[in-house]
Symmetry: C2
Subunit: 179 residues, 2 copies
Amino acid sequence: MKKFEEKTVETQEIYDGKVVKLQVDSVTLPDGATSKREIIKHPGAVAIIALTDDDKVVMVEQYRKPLEKSIVEIPAGKLEPGEEPHVTAKRELEEETGYTTDNLQYITSFYTSPGFADEIIYLYFTDELKQLKENVEGDEDEFVELLELSLEEAEKLVKEERVHDAKTAYALLYLRMRK
Amino acid sequence: MKKFEEKTVETQEIYDGKVVKLQVDSVTLPDGATSKREIIKHPGAVAIIALTDDDKVVMVEQYRKPLEKSIVEIPAGKLEPGEEPHVTAKRELEEETGYTTDNLQYITSFYTSPGFADEIIYLYFTDELKQLKENVEGDEDEFVELLELSLEEAEKLVKEERVHDAKTAYALLYLRMRK
């Protein structure tokens, strides 16, 4: 849908980084006026709702520099260039948790911050996990700790704001509704 | 929690815009190595789950330049400097929908993109709406269309990817669970 479309007059590239790019678009608004839109370009990401055989939610704790705190999230990671989301999902599950699966079900996708970023998250579900025999190396600048929590334990962390991100909040509601 | 804390060695300010700031922090990792973190600073936002007397979900359609499409979302908006989230929530509800309320219940908050941004959304709920007698002016560069949809109609838009953002996806799950 293109309702209220804002046509690009000019794009100014501000920054091209490791994770994000920043550009400022000059746009024509529906009433003919002009404005500027600050846009973060992001490669997109996946996240995985993974349940162990004893019905625990597989989660990872990691430090999030923008928040200056560590939070507990479902496993997730960025798409590599040209990588299909379900391939990313299996790879990130293996790297972050030591589990793998042959049965990843696609649930939904959503943009995280549509006002200023094009980041999209593809969300998957599995309850058929197998332990990897050998650990798979992840990004060398990522430090994550594996947690396996009952849904009730995870929901308690929401109240404590130790679970504090949108995809994980969604995932826990999804699991609650599935019960 | 500060597990795996990444200490800032240096902050490089890249861009200071209307909505976002971009900085790159040089950090010391838990193993002593150094890395860079690209960080978007955002003022934070609110979103409102609002139900009409006949149980319709109040939503707004608007063009989202980063996605190059219009999507249907729950009403939302950015915090002004120093503004309390519940004040923002009432103001954005009035500006975007023509409704007001004296009963906003805080539900939860979540970071939208903890890997690269500090944007937090404070989520509110109301089912006590009153029509404003006069429209309140919103931002002059925002064009929004009001929609009032049954939960089933809104869920259909999720499947069509016309509802396609994290906060609205969360809101619709929340309403489904409330039934």
